[in-house]
């Protein structure tokens, strides 16, 4: 294995002044926290939007006075209109997928910990890094503007299928400037993510400390690295797709619009485009995006589990190779979102096979996690509870993928709540469990204070049981053919099942309220938490070899040297049952092992 290179000079000077320290900071740690804060704002916004949608679905005439303040047209008298439901749906999906699931597990934690875990002083390109965050922030501002324009946010869903999204105001409310803002926001987001991904790759390849071979990198660093490779290719495709969409909307081009369409009694002045082109480009990004959301959490959970179990995984190498195969296969499966789209039915089979195949590395990962628990000594705390919960959620969301990967079954289940249940569990909840685990685990390092374990555990139980109560019934409702993206169900056949929708709404309200416990814990512990020692979890990787919180240049000018694999647990070390990566001592296996 090739030795990592030694970094030479300081990448930047110590920050001076408020702006450089806290706003336009070049420090990867501050940027990581900024990403985290943005994701936090986005996740609470997205969650409140989901509350509003759930409330409206089961009590369509409920008056929500605050909603009228947000949009007079969208909720006259506080009662949500059907089109405003779709606006909220679009914004919920967009905020969650882009600004939460991409930002939190990947950009936030990756930024903070990747350089430290490989022994670097900062990212390879600190200025690019600052630009990535502020570009992401700009994308968020542009998207949120859609709430405040008279027309409101777009109503075409987070996938913005063409031609609905491409023809402008004729397509309905929100499809004039609302949809343009969506396209511009996502295009900006793509640029930010491309910059970020390049930076992660360059940093991982070039700035590793002496002795930090690739195979000695912690599993979460591996996950961030693989994710950046995926992101580089995925966002590079979504970016031109958004540009073409904007051109169709504003420059009179017809990339996605065929001839002869009559919308709002007007023959559209377009010809020659293909709506399926948008779907291919979108899902070429969209499916890898699922792995951009989940892979970092797989890495984070592995990292935390090993620490909690006090013993290494059955094989870190197998985990790395599995994550790489998932990344590779993620590019061959986008068509499984399009089984009933009218593409050649032969290609459905071609997309189905790799989709089913991706289950193999995913199962290997699951079996490795499960098998490693055997014979370990799991320390139960908030971080490890969420890590264990992640395995449960990942399996629950994963097995339903087995149905949807088969085009014949997808004929029936496509566009039903089965799909909603599936992706919320596997890419939403599971990924967020990784983020929660990461937060409880790394908060002491990031702030120098411990989080409240009592509140953390309470948060876990509400979230774990709540998520099952919300998303399991979705699968059942999907089986009876309950279609998604409907603001209400006026069908006769749904009447006997509306009780289940009410149950889900109540579960969502309680689970959502539980997240405020987390928010309180974050803020309270930041100021009043117990002071954290350097290495509260007796962990081995480099981030635990420096003060909490770390100084601006991470290692205080010292160049760490790495002697071991990242997970020397269950050994006789000088400090206990572990040996740190940068400790020159010899690893002595524990007796009886």
């Amino acid at each position: 294995m090739q030795e990592g290179s030694v970094q030479e000079a300081h990448v930047h000077a110590p920050p001076e002044g408020f702006l450089r320290k806290y706003v336009f900071s070049l420090d990867h740690k501050v940027i990581g926290k900024q990403y985290y804060a943005l994701a936090l704002v986005a996740v609470f916004t997205g969650m409140i939007l989901s509350w509003l949608m759930r409330l409206h679905m089961v009590w369509p005439n409920a008056k929500i006075p605050l909603l009228e303040m947000l949009s007079k047209n969208g909720a006259p008298g506080g009662v949500m209109t059907p089109e405003y439901y779709l606006s909220l749906l679009t914004m919920h999906g967009t905020l969650m997928v882009f600004f939460v699931l991409t930002n939190a597990p990947f950009a936030a934690f990756g930024n903070y910990f990747l350089p430290i875990q490989i022994g670097a002083e900062d990212m390879a390109f600190p200025r690019f890094n600052m630009m990535s965050f502020w570009t992401t922030f700009a994308a968020w501002v542009v998207l949120m503007l859609a709430f405040f324009i008279p027309d409101g946010p777009p109503i075409a869903g987070w996938t913005e299928y063409t031609p609905l999204s491409a023809v402008g105001k004729d397509a309905g409310p929100g499809m004039a400037w609302g949809a343009s803002l969506w396209g511009i926001s996502i295009a900006i987001f793509c640029v930010a993510s491309l910059l970020g991904a390049l930076n992660f790759i360059a940093t991982t390849l070039d700035l590793r400390a002496r002795g930090m071979t690739l195979m000695r990198m912690p599993l979460c660093t591996w996950a961030w690295f693989v994710t950046s490779c995926i992101a580089l290719l995925a966002f590079a495709v979504l970016f031109p797709a958004c540009i073409l969409l904007i051109l169709d909307r504003h420059a009179g081009t017809s990339f996605f619009i065929p001839s002869g369409l009559v919308i709002s009694d007007r023959v559209q002045p377009h010809a020659g485009g293909s709506p399926l082109l948008w779907q291919h480009l979108f899902w070429f990004f969209g499916h890898p995006e699922v792995y951009i959301a989940i892979l970092p959490s797989m890495g984070i959970v592995s990292h935390i589990l090993i620490n909690s179990m006090r013993k290494p995984l059955l094989s870190a190498k197998v985990v790395i190779y599995s994550m790489m195969s998932i990344g590779f296969l993620s590019y061959m499966v986008w068509g499984h979102h399009m089984f009933v789209s009218g593409m050649n039915p032969m290609s459905s089979l071609a997309f189905s096979f790799p989709t089913l195949t991706i289950t193999i590395p995913a199962t290997i990962l699951t079996l490795i996690w499960l098998g490693s628990l055997y014979g370990s000594n799991i320390q139960i705390n908030s971080a490890s509870l969420f890590a264990l919960g992640f395995i449960s959620m990942f399996v629950a969301g994963g097995v339903s993928g087995f149905f949807l990967a088969q085009p014949s079954i997808d004929i029936y289940l496509h566009a039903t709540y089965f799909v909603v249940g599936h992706f919320h569990l596997v890419m939403g909840v599971a990924s967020l469990f990784g983020v929660f685990a990461g937060t409880y685990f790394w908060f002491p390092k990031m702030t120098g204070r411990m989080m409240s374990e009592t509140l953390g555990k309470l948060h876990f139980w509400i979230t774990f049981i709540g998520a099952y109560c919300i998303f399991m019934p979705f699968h059942y409702l999907g089986l009876i053919g309950n279609v998604r993206r409907y603001q209400s169900f006026v069908d006769d056949f749904m009447a006997p099942y509306m009780g289940w929708h009410k149950f889900v709404t109540i579960a969502a309200l309680i689970t959502g309220a539980g997240q405020f416990i987390f928010l309180f814990n974050l803020i309270y512990s930041r100021f009043k938490g117990k002071p954290a020692p350097e290495n509260p979890w007796n962990a081995t990787s480099l981030e635990w070899s420096i003060p909490s919180p770390p100084p601006w240049n991470n290692f205080g000018g010292r160049h760490p040297v790495v002697y071991h694999d990242p997970y020397q647990y269950g050994v006789n070390g000088s400090k206990g049952d572990f040996v740190m990566q940068d400790s020159p001592e010899q690893v002595v296996p524990a007796s009886g092992d």
Partner: protein, 266 residues
């Protein structure tokens, strides 16, 4: 607290399986000739996926129960066989499931998409638009009049933009807001989107197919049971999407012919 987690995991596994095992949520009765293949496939998958789900949750529960917060100094053990067992198990178990389901699934898929409709299948054109479905029958001449987007006039009920004044084929076309088909007769639905993307979904028929603007798509099916079934749009098409529906009315051959005559005389 590890033991509590183990108990909750088992409860989750049992409670999640309960509604499936007790058939609280069942698919509506299948009224198509191809649907049973899809249903069989779904049931087989349910069994395999369900067992994997329950198995994994219970193994997780057992390990969490047995190995959390043990006494300090408890010896650590490794899973017998280590990673090799995990990798082999994944390849063998999941690999065989993948192959089995993949191969079987192809047959179900092939019945819908790779078997062409019989030459005598009844051709009906379906048009989807914001926010309604319209269906067109070719009339006695067996030919559809051409669609002229500029002649579409909802006010005068010219939903398809027909030009009967100049085109003979268009004169006997019958347009209906309801999809009426004879029972046990194969129907080929020619799909046309007037404005944006829509989808044709009839749960009982086990058919879902998008309408894509600019693409001539078709699906074919044989309905085997007389009755009225809901057709809903499943592709987000705008503000009235939730309300975009029509009915599939499966009739006896006689009633169908009677209906056709009534429509023609209107």
């Amino acid at each position: 607290m590890g033991k509590l987690l183990a108990i909750v995991l088992v409860l989750i596994a049992v409670l999640s399986a309960y509604p499936i095992v007790t058939h609280m949520f069942v698919l509506p009765e299948d009224i198509s000739t191809h649907g049973h293949a899809i249903d069989d496939q779904l049931n087989d998958t349910m069994l395999e996926a369900g067992l994997s789900f329950i198995g994994a949750q219970i193994v997780l529960a057992i390990f969490v129960w047995g190995f959390s917060n043990r006494k300090a100094g408890s010896p650590l053990k490794n899973f017998p066989g280590g990673a090799k067992v995990a990798v082999i198990a994944a390849f063998v178990l999941v690999g065989s499931e993948v192959l089995a389901l993949g191969v079987m699934g192809q047959q179900a898929w092939a019945q819908v998409y790779f078997t062409p409709p019989k030459p005598d299948a009844l051709q009906i054109q379906a048009q989807a638009e914001q926010f309604a479905f319209y269906f067109r029958y070719p009339g006695p001449d067996g030919k559809f009049g051409a669609i002229h987007p500029d002649k579409i006039d909802e006010g005068n009920q010219n939903y398809f933009g027909l030009d009967p004044a100049n085109e003979v084929e268009a004169r006997d076309d019958i347009v209906s807001g309801e999809l009426v088909v004879p029972v046990n007769r194969e129907v080929q639905l020619l799909m046309h989107a007037k404005d944006v993307g829509h989808s044709f979904y009839v749960r009982e028929l086990r058919i879902q197919q998008d309408f894509v603007p600019g693409l001539d798509l078709s699906v074919h099916f044989t309905a085997t049971k007389i009755g009225k079934y809901e057709i809903v749009c499943t592709q987000l098409c705008g503000l009235g999407h939730y309300n975009m529906k029509a009915y599939l009315n499966v009739m006896s051959q006689e009633n169908y012919e009677k209906w056709l005559k009534e429509q023609a005389s209107q």
